[in-house]
């Protein structure tokens, strides 16, 4: 965005609404897939520095299983599904019914990797189709790719495109929580939508706020 059309609180509120709609759909898909009640909500939509972006995901050195995909079409951007290794293990063990699966092991079994990618596919697919319905924009996700590594190393890859324009990023942060048995939340993770700066205007126009 240039200095003539600044991002206002109203814009951030609109993006939060966009995020909430996407999150609601993604939560439904994930709940069905795992047969558990999954709660997703959007605690934050804000303009942050790149370092603050890593902090949102637990700090640059936190080890996570990160799914990354690009979105293309009428708007472009990056999308991340980031889970601490323990939470990712929990999800995937349940999904493939193998209690020994571990993302921290040096030789990752292929089935766990593809299950995680499929999880990313389903989540981003339902999130983005909700976003597409809401805005009337055509949105195409690329195939998701998985990396188990430090948050900084993973998320910075999705900031490359944005870094051409800015040192800050609008992040639509979706928190994922499983409503655990006996009130224990066993899973927590984040789903980040990072639109490329030229797409901000596209989103706002489509929703009639610019």
């Amino acid at each position: 965005m240039n200095s003539d059309n600044k991002i206002t609180d109203m814009h951030l509120d609109v993006l939060k609404e966009v995020g909430n709609i996407g999150a609601a759909h993604a939560a439904t898909s994930l709940s069905q897939l795992l047969n558990r009640k999954i709660d997703m909500h959007v605690p934050n939509v804000k303009l942050v520095s790149f370092d603050e972006m890593f902090d949102l995901a637990g700090g640059a050195e936190t080890i996570v299983a990160g799914i990354f995909l690009r979105i293309e079409g009428d708007l472009s951007g990056s999308m991340f599904f980031v889970l601490p290794v323990e939470s990712a293990n929990h999800f995937i063990r349940r999904l493939i019914e193998d209690e020994t699966f571990d993302f921290a092991s040096p030789n990752l079994p292929e089935i766990g990797v593809s299950a995680m990618q499929e999880l990313g596919n389903i989540l981003s697919g339902s999130y983005l189709s909700a976003l597409s319905d809401f805005t009337g924009l055509k949105i195409y996700p690329t195939v998701p790719s998985l990396s188990v590594d430090m948050v900084g190393a993973i998320v910075s890859f999705g900031l490359i495109e944005i870094s051409h324009y800015s040192d800050e990023v609008i992040v639509i942060d979706t928190q994922i929580r499983e409503e655990g048995e006996e009130g224990i939340s066993s899973v927590n993770g984040h789903f980040f939508l990072l639109p490329d700066p030229p797409s901000y205007v596209t989103i706002f126009r489509s929703l009639g706020v610019m």
């Binding site: 790149f50 900084g152 190393a153 993973i154 870094s163």
Partner: protein, 164 residues
């Protein structure tokens, strides 16, 4: 001012300098490259964490010099010069430039190797020799430089820790 074992942190697209006994560190390098310039005799070092190879890629009117290989390394050298370091005395160690994901738009996918290439070209242009490097691969790195020993410590998630 001088506190033993204090670590100066360098963020993404950021730079700073340090004198012994302090160390300087940047976390979670992926396709980005961390460049250390140091003067062995004066025990002073600088670190820059670059994201992109070339400032001509910038699409905003105001650029952050520490974000690009061509402007960041030069700016770091200027910072060190302001501390009385002669450019002739400078040596470099570099790490990063990995490929974290197996796909991406054609330009983005190769950003790690392109960053490494641009860093080497710029160091050559400035006549600063590369003493050691740990670049490429598909792992994230956290690096910390100790100007007392002129050693660069590199930590990865899957490949352990090493010093170069």
């Amino acid at each position: 001012m001088m506190i033993l074992n204090e670590v100066i942190r360098v963020g993404i697209a950021d730079m700073n300098i340090v004198k012994e006994p302090m160390t300087i560190r940047t976390s979670g390098l992926g396709s980005c490259v961390g460049i250390v310039l140091y003067d062995e005799r004066k025990k002073i070092a600088g670190m820059v964490h670059i994201m992109l190879p070339d400032s001509s890629l910038g699409k905003s009117d105001r650029i952050n010099v520490a974000k690009f290989a061509d402007t960041g390394i030069y700016a770091l050298m200027e910072l060190l010069k302001a501390e009385g370091v002669r450019p002739m005395a400078l040596k470099a160690k570099i790490a990063g430039g990995s490929q974290m994901f197996q796909f991406g738009s054609s330009d983005t996918i190769r950003i790690g190797p392109r960053n490494v290439e641009a860093v080497k070209q710029e160091l050559k242009r400035l006549s600063i020799p590369i003493i050691a490097e740990d670049t490429g691969g598909s792992s994230g790195r956290t690096i910390e430089f100790n100007p007392t020993e002129s050693m660069l410590n590199i930590r990865t998630v899957n490949l352990g820790t090493k010093e170069i």
